[in-house]
């Protein structure tokens, strides 16, 4: 975002990009870190790792969207 000139068109394009990729970011966040939690819980037998992983993934995905488009 920083390299390009800030024009209304570019802004609009960035916003559309961001809005469309939000669901897939959150879904991947859940899958990646929830999946990691699932693996951990299978390995250790501690079930709580799954919800922790899911929440962490969602938080990270939100943070990622903020970092990429929100600033």
């Amino acid at each position: 975002m920083s390299e390009q000139k800030r024009t209304p068109e570019n802004d609009g394009r960035d916003f559309a990009n961001a809005a469309w990729s939000v669901p897939s970011y959150i879904l991947s966040g859940i899958l990646v870190w929830g999946g990691a939690g699932w693996l951990l819980s299978r390995w250790t037998g501690v079930y709580a790792f799954i919800p922790i992983g899911v929440i962490l993934g969602v938080g990270l995905a939100v943070y990622l969207v903020y970092v990429k488009y929100g600033r």
Binding site: R13, A16, L60
Partner: protein, 263 residues
């Protein structure tokens, strides 16, 4: 198979996902010769015929079909291509035009009497489009940004401390490489699938309670089903148009994102 065939016995049964399964057209036909396949081909040929009648001999002063064709062209160009591709819009118009018109016609088959099957409600068809766009996107990204630059631009948003990348990059990768094309295809599929299911449900309610088992108590329900069928048909036409538009728009967005790194 139409919804009414599903109605068996004395009790009303809501149509399920099995309404999307079609047997071969006639006894002894090969398994692939089903209604959606036939109409997929018919739709493709119709799109070609329509485009041919509109654009084969274009006049400076448009008349007849060319007027309609040009409206469609201008819609795709101004609403889809230009916002996301900017000056590259003209170059990608052929692909976007084909995508938009084919998907639109296939979707509209869902509300055409006797056809009544949105082709995209069979996930294979959206998958074909999504895979084409996905391959094109990766090819263009690597061509325009270099193999390393493409993945670097994609997975490492600048200006963050190093350990954060360890947490964020897998999300980026999964999102861009797997989830995005998946949702691209599934969005179209699911909308058509669910929309058609709703239509089938309401029309079977109407049919069951008004024709099969007409009772004083059930007739009200039947009328409601019939009215809802009409309303939902209008709504479905809108959704079908919207999904064709959105699929094309996302295709343009992915291509545009691959052409120049935007972050």
């Amino acid at each position: 198979m139409t919804p009414l065939v599903l109605v068996a016995g004395d009790e009303f049964q809501a149509p399920g996902p099995s309404i999307f399964n079609f047997p071969p057209l006639y006894e002894g036909a090969p398994a692939w010769l089903t209604k959606p396949v036939i109409f997929a081909v018919v739709g493709a040929l119709l799109v070609c015929a329509f485009a041919w009648s509109a654009f084969a001999k274009p006049q400076l002063v448009p008349r007849g079909m060319q007027n309609i064709g040009e409206k469609g062209y201008e819609f795709v160009r101004d609403q889809v291509a230009r916002p996301f591709l900017g000056k590259d819009a003209e170059r990608w118009m052929p692909l976007l035009m084909s995508l938009f018109f084919l998907i639109l016609l296939w979707n509209l088959f869902g509300v055409v009497p006797l056809i009544q099957i949105p082709i995209a409600s069979h996930i294979a068809f959206p998958i074909v489009f999504a895979v084409v766009i996905y391959a094109l996107r990766i090819y263009l990204g690597i061509k325009h940004q270099g193999p390393i630059g493409y993945f670097k631009n994609m997975m490492f948003p600048p200006g963050l401390p190093k350990p954060i990348y360890l947490l964020l990059s897998p999300i980026e990768f999964l999102s861009n490489m797997i989830i995005a094309p998946f949702t691209h295809a599934v969005r179209l599929f699911a909308n058509m699938f669910a929309g058609h299911m709703l239509l089938a449900f309401f029309s079977s309610v109407g049919f069951w309670f008004l024709f099969e088992r007409l009772t004083p108590l059930g007739s009200g329900l039947g009328v409601l089903g019939a009215v809802m069928t009409i309303a939902m048909t209008g709504f479905e036409m809108f959704i079908e148009f919207l999904q064709a538009f959105l699929f094309t728009l996302l295709a343009a967005m992915y291509i545009g994102g691959a052409l120049h790194a935007d972050h």
